[in-house]
Symmetry: C2
Subunit: 325 residues, 2 copies
C-alpha cells in the first residue's frame, strides 16, 4: 500500500466530509494543518458550509480533568442526539497531528461512534501555528456537520487562552487543592470564562475552591442588569456527576448570547482574528522572503555597526514588502 | 511645577545621557517605552553611539534570587570600575515604567552610585510591547556609556526567554528544591543558557540541583571540540558568595565569543530580530488602520456569514496594506 503522494480531490473530500465520513474529515484537517497547497481551495469550499456549529472552548491547568470532562460532555451531547466534534490542542505534545495516546484511552468510549469526531492537534513548538490552525480545523468540523465542537486546550500559555477565548462559550476548569488553578485563573483565564467548572468536587478542598472562585469572580467589575453572570458548576466528571448541569449552563449561555446578538458579535470577532492572523502570517512570510534575499541580513549588519538605526532599517524592510519607496 | 507637556529636545537629551546624567537616560527610555513621536529621532541619534556595551541576560523562575544576584553582580562590576546598566523586565507587574518597590529595596545599595543606572520595565500585559521596548532601552543604556548591561527577566514566558536569548551572554538561574526551576529549564530555558547559576547553594538539595542540571546539559547534543560548554556556578548571592566566579564565567564566555566571531554574529542576529519586530509592528499597525476603516470588520462579517473564506479575506487585507491588487 506504499502509494505515492496523491493530489487530493478537494471537492470529493468536502462532499464526503459533509456526509460525515471520518477519513475525509481527517484528510481535510491534515491538509489544513500542514498548510498544503490545497489549503485555500479547501477553505473556499468549506466557507458556505460553516457557521452552524456551537463551539465550546475548555481550558484549565494540567490535571484538572479536561479530557475526562470533555469525554463526559460528548456522552451527554450524544445522548441528546447531537453530532459532536472534539479538537484537543496540546502545545506540550511532541506528536504532530493524529490523536494522542492519553486522549485515545480517555476517548475510547466514543471511538466506534460515527456521530463523534475526535482530533488532537499538537503545536510542534510553533505557537503561531497553533493559533492559526485551530480555527481552520474548527471550520472543517463545522462544515462536516458537527453541531457541537469542543475545543480543549491546556490553559497555560497566552496562545491557548486565546484559542479558548475564540469559542462561542469558554469553559474554565479548576480542581480542588490545585493552587495552580487559581493562579492560572489570576493570570487571565478568569476573564475569559463564561462557565466555570470545579471538577473532582468530591475531593477535600472543593468548597474552598468554589468559594475562592466565587470571591474572585465577585471582585470583577460590577455587572449591569442583564449581564451574564458566569455560573460555577461542580462535577465529578469521572462518574459523570454534574455533567448535565454543565450542558444546561452551556445551553443557557448560548440562549443568552443569541437573545442579545452576542453570539453573532463573537463570531464576527473570531472571524476578524482569523483573517488578521492569516494576513499577518502572509506579511511575515514576505519578510521571511526578504531574509532569504539577505536584505534583512544586510540591514542587520549595518544596525549592529551603528550605521543605521533599527527604525530606518525597518522602513526599508517594510518598503520591500509593500512595494513602497 | 505642574508644567504642560514639553516637546523633548532630543539632541540635548542624548548629549546629557552620554555624560551619564540619569534624568536624561530616564527620559530617553520613557520616550522609547511610550512610543513617543520622537522615538525615531531618538533611535537615529543613538545609533552611532551604540555597540560598546556587553549585554548579559539573566532569567529564572520567581524566587531563585534574580534581583539579589543582579545586585551582587552590579557590586562586582562596580568594584572593577565598570559603568553598569540594569534593566529589570517584569511581565507580571502592574506598574508601568519606573522602578518596582522590591527592586528598589534590593537595589538600594546602588541608588546613590552615579556609575549605575537601574530601570524596571513592566509590560502592561502587552507582550509584543515587551519584546519591542527592551532592546530599545538597551540601546539607550549602551549609548549612555554603560559598559555592562544586565537585563533581568522572569523566565516564565516565551517572550522573556526571547529577551534573555538576545543578550550577548545568557545566564540562567536556578535554586535548590525548586522543581519549577528544572521544569522551566526543560521548557526551553536550558537551550539558551551560556552560564548556569545555582543560587542559594547553601540550602539542602543544592548538590542534587547541580547534578540534575549537569545531567540535563550532558544530555544535549554532543559538542564538537572548541564548542562552548556552559559552566554551572554555585552562589549564595545574598552573601556575595560565588559572584566573582560568575563574573569570571561571563568574561570567559565573552572572550570565547570574541575569538570566534560569535559575538558579532549574535549582535547581527539581535539587530535582525529587532528590525523584523519593528517592521512587523508597523505592518500590524497598517492592518489596525484598516480595522479603523472598518475594512477588516466588513470582511469578518462576510467570513462569519460563510460568504467569504478567511484566506480570500486575508488577501484583500494584505492588498490593502501593500497597495497591491
Amino acid at each position: 500500500m506504499a502509494a505515492g503522494y496523491q493530489v487530493p480531490d478537494v471537492p470529493a473530500l468536502v462532499d464526503q466530509a459533509r456526509e460525515g465520513r471520518p477519513r475525509a474529515v481527517a484528510r481535510l484537517i491534515s491538509l489544513v494543518e500542514s498548510g498544503a497547497p490545497q489549503l485555500r481551495e479547501v477553505m473556499a469550499a468549506l466557507a458556505p458550509l460553516t457557521g452552524n456549529a456551537y463551539v465550546v472552548g475548555l481550558t484549565g491547568s494540567p490535571g484538572v480533568g479536561k479530557s475526562t470532562t470533555t469525554s463526559a460532555l460528548v456522552t451527554a451531547y450524544r445522548r441528546a442526539g447531537r453530532r459532536v466534534g472534539v479538537l484537543a490542542v496540546d502545545p506540550s505534545s511532541p506528536f504532530s497531528g493524529g490523536a494522542l495516546l492519553g486522549d485515545r484511552i480517555r476517548m475510547s468510549d466514543h471511538a466506534s461512534d460515527p456521530g463523534v469526531y475526535i482530533r488532537s492537534m499538537a503545536t510542534r513548538g510553533h505557537l503561531g501555528g497553533l493559533a492559526w490552525a485551530a480555527p481552520q480545523a474548527v471550520r472543517v468540523l463545522d462544515a462536516a456537520g458537527c453541531e457541537v465542537i469542543l475545543v480543549e486546550t491546556v490553559g497555560v500559555g497566552q496562545s491557548e487562552v486565546e484559542i479558548a477565548a475564540q469559542a462561542d462559550t469558554s469553559v474554565v476548569l479548576l480542581a480542588p487543592g490545585m493552587g495552580d488553578g487559581i493562579q492560572a485563573a489570576k493570570a487571565g483565564i478568569l476573564e475569559i470564562g463564561d462557565v466555570f467548572v470545579v471538577n473532582k468536587a468530591d475531593r477535600d478542598g472543593a468548597d474552598a475552591t468554589v468559594r475562592e472562585l466565587g470571591h474572585m469572580l465577585g471582585l470583577g467589575e460590577a455587572r449591569r442588569p442583564g449581564d451574564w453572570r458566569p455560573p460555577v458548576v461542580r462535577t465529578v466528571a469521572a462518574r459523570a456527576e454534574g455533567v448535565d448541569e454543565v450542558v444546561a449552563a452551556l445551553e443557557k449561555h448560548r440562549a443568552w448570547m443569541e437573545e442579545r446578538g452576542v453570539l453573532a458579535d463573537r463570531r464576527r470577532r473570531r472571524a476578524a482574528g482569523e483573517v488578521e492572523t492569516i494576513a499577518l502570517t502572509a506579511l511575515r512570510a514576505r519578510i521571511g522572503d526578504l531574509r532569504g534575499d539577505q536584505r534583512l541580513g544586510a540591514l542587520a549588519e549595518r544596525v549592529a555597526r551603528g550605521e543605521l538605526d533599527p527604525y530606518a532599517a525597518a522602513d526599508d524592510l517594510v518598503a520591500g514588502v509593500t512595494g513602497g519607496a
